[in-house]
Amino acid sequence: MATATTMLPASGSNGLQRFGLWARANLFNSVGNSIITVLFGALALWVAWSIFKWGVIDAVFVAPNMRACQTAGTGACWAFVGEKWRFILFGRYPYEEQWRTAIVLVLLFGMTGASFVPKLWRRETAYAWVAVLIISGVLMWGGVLGLVPVESDLWSGLPLTMILSLLSMIFGFILAVFLALGRRSNLPVVKLICTAFIEIMRGVPLITILFMASLMLPLFLPPGFSVSKVLRALIAITMFLAAYQAEDIRAGLMALPKGQFEAADALGLSYWRKTKSIVLPQAITIVIPPLVGNLIGNFKNTSLVSIISLLDLMNTTQVALVDPNWRGLTSEAYLFLGAIYFVACFAMSRYSQWLEVLLNKGKRR
């Protein structure tokens, strides 16, 4: 590296040299900074090494139970995940029938992925969604085509998390558009209802709404008449998400230049035609980042249904942890759980950044 120091800063031809120069300019530009860099560098290395040692070198990958894990190694006990992954992912769904939920997962993930591709934003994709949702429903419930019927109470794990997030996303968005339009409406009653709904939903924590749906609702229903817990939770989450998304969309509506509305009126377009062709496409494009932020939040919010004993991904992990043969392996379990949530949320977030750039191409100056 002796030659590197004699070179001019901008001409660093390979990455290492450039990094060396950058480090000298930013990390070692004074004695104090050098000391801090070395100290924190060592600390970071030590932490990284400890995690690596715990998670890989000293880890136990195959063991019959937690005690065996402890004697076999001092690190992480990934045998726990090996034993429980099926329960964590699929929960109480009948063991022999779990292939059905696996197919549903693949379908839903595939469809979500396909919907990410702008070329596929066509009417056919919407039809495909309807088909996928119907197929998923058939697979999950069963009872037809020789499939064993499975009550929605037994839906759990990742499929439940996916179903709750996707359906609340779809219905929530549709509801949100109408709420946003309603709140900007000239009709006083519509405006009042929409405003009240949005403000009440936004003024209450999701957990309260979930508790209402799960504890209070059954008390007011006639005996023998019950709405499944999954549906109750889905409605609660949908209403909650819709209120937040409505406000995002309203922001988009307000950000739209007045000239756009006036031009549409001048062309003699009806209210719905104007809204559908001129207003909404532009308004929604503006607010994609907050909308996706809401969706990510919503995906994580579905874990709150574990409070009302629905076995979503979060709750199946907690239940897996109480097995006396596998006690105390919280770090491993929550790392596994965190990895699943992270992959999903990170993908959504990166996608929205990419989408934003794509849709704003015309506006960049």
Binding site: F87, Y95, D153
Partner: protein, 339 residues
């Protein structure tokens, strides 16, 4: 505030449920062909799911016994996992027919919430776990000791009451999360750890670095009789629930197990004959099949079998029978005569 809200909710529950469901529970169960049972899914040994997602535990088996008595099969049952705040409203609103979820039988719950508790299926009580090397023989020696405890339950209040009543000095270390509170104790942050003795035993066996280094002190500072409950208004269903549990005890007392129950059908003992339905009468009185007790024991086992496989020697928890032994062997488990 919490309490006011809770009682408001429960008053509502009482008002609507009591009028609507009177006397119909048993008919509903029979017409649906399934018993809906509210359970815990997060307490090992009492109610928890195995790796294949099947529920197992002492409370689960109690439900299975009741389902067998009414419907003839331990599988005609729908389990509804309930969290602690959900459990009573779920029972009141008719979402579940029976609550078998390690619930302590108290006056308030029975009278104020309009419930009926069945026989106690597990006698629990709050105790202390200490290091053997500390050489503590009695809870009375714990003055000035730091005690690890989870907040928010009666556990914390019982602890304070006990120390005050015995004029001991208390230094509680309050930690919310179960794993953290256990870690705190085993890493030496506290001298003692207190919770229900069944919990202590399972902690000692499954979490302690060396289980033999720790002892549970003899004092129990609270009474926690865990019992199944149904809502008031259907006495026949209540009777069946009660006697299904008594049948488990009666069978153990008479030495009838799931393995020898078929041979026992030929027994000459008139008690056993009546019990297993060889001499008819009991089933008719209860309004169930004459073979009800036979079916329960054949499919679920007697109380001793249930205890051993879920929380006793045959389980990872390794609990002693203690108070939960039969009255004939020094415990509290006693069934009235089935005749």
């Amino acid at each position: 505030m919490k309490r006011i809200l809770a009682s408001a909710v429960l008053t509502l529950a009482l008002g609507t449920a009591a009028t609507a469901e009177a006397g119909q529970t048993l008919d509903n169960i029979k017409s649906k062909g399934v018993l809906t049972c509210g359970v815990n899914d997060k307490t090992a040994g009492f109610g928890a799911a195995d790796s294949a997602g099947k529920y197992a535990g002492l409370d689960i088996d109690v439900c299975r016994a009741v389902a067998t008595a009414i419907l003839g099969s331990p599988d005609k049952i729908k389990f509804v996992p309930l969290s602690a705040p959900q459990r009573f409203t779920a029972l009141q609103s008719g979402e579940v027919d029976i609550l078998s979820r390690n619930t302590t039988w108290t006056l308030g719950r029975e009278a104020q919430l309009g419930l009926l508790f069945g026989p106690t299926v597990f006698y629990d009580g709050q105790g202390f776990l200490v290091k053997k090397s500390a050489n503590i023989k009695s809870a009375k020696q714990l003055s000035g000791a730091t005690v690890c405890v989870q907040p928010g339950t009666t556990t914390e209040l019982n602890l304070a009451d006990y120390f005050r009543a015995n004029k001991l000095e208390l230094k509680p270390v309050v930690i919310e999360n179960l794993d953290e509170v256990e870690n705190a104790f085993f890493t030496g942050r506290c001298d003692a750890y207190t919770t229900d003795s069944s919990g202590l035993a399972s902690t000692r066996v499954s979490k302690a670095p060396k289980p033999d280094d720790y002892v549970i002190l003899p004092e129990l500072i609270s009474k926690e009789p865990l019992a199944p409950a149904v809502r008031q208004g259907d006495d026949q269903f209540y009777d069946i629930m009660r006697w299904s549990v008594f049948a488990l005890l009666q069978a153990e007392e008479k030495g009838i197990t799931s393995k020898n129950v078929d041979a026992m059908l030929k027994s000459d003992d008139p008690d056993i004959k009546r019990f297993l339905g060889v001499t008819e009468g009991n089933g008719k009185s209860l309004g169930v099949d004459e073979k009800w007790a036979y079916n329960i024991i054949k499919n679920v086992g007697n109380y001793g079998e249930i205890f051993e496989r879920n929380v006793g020697k045959g389980s990872p928890l390794k609990l002693e029978r203690g108070l939960n032994d039969l009255w004939t062997t020094g415990g509290l488990m006693y069934a009235p005569p089935a005749r």
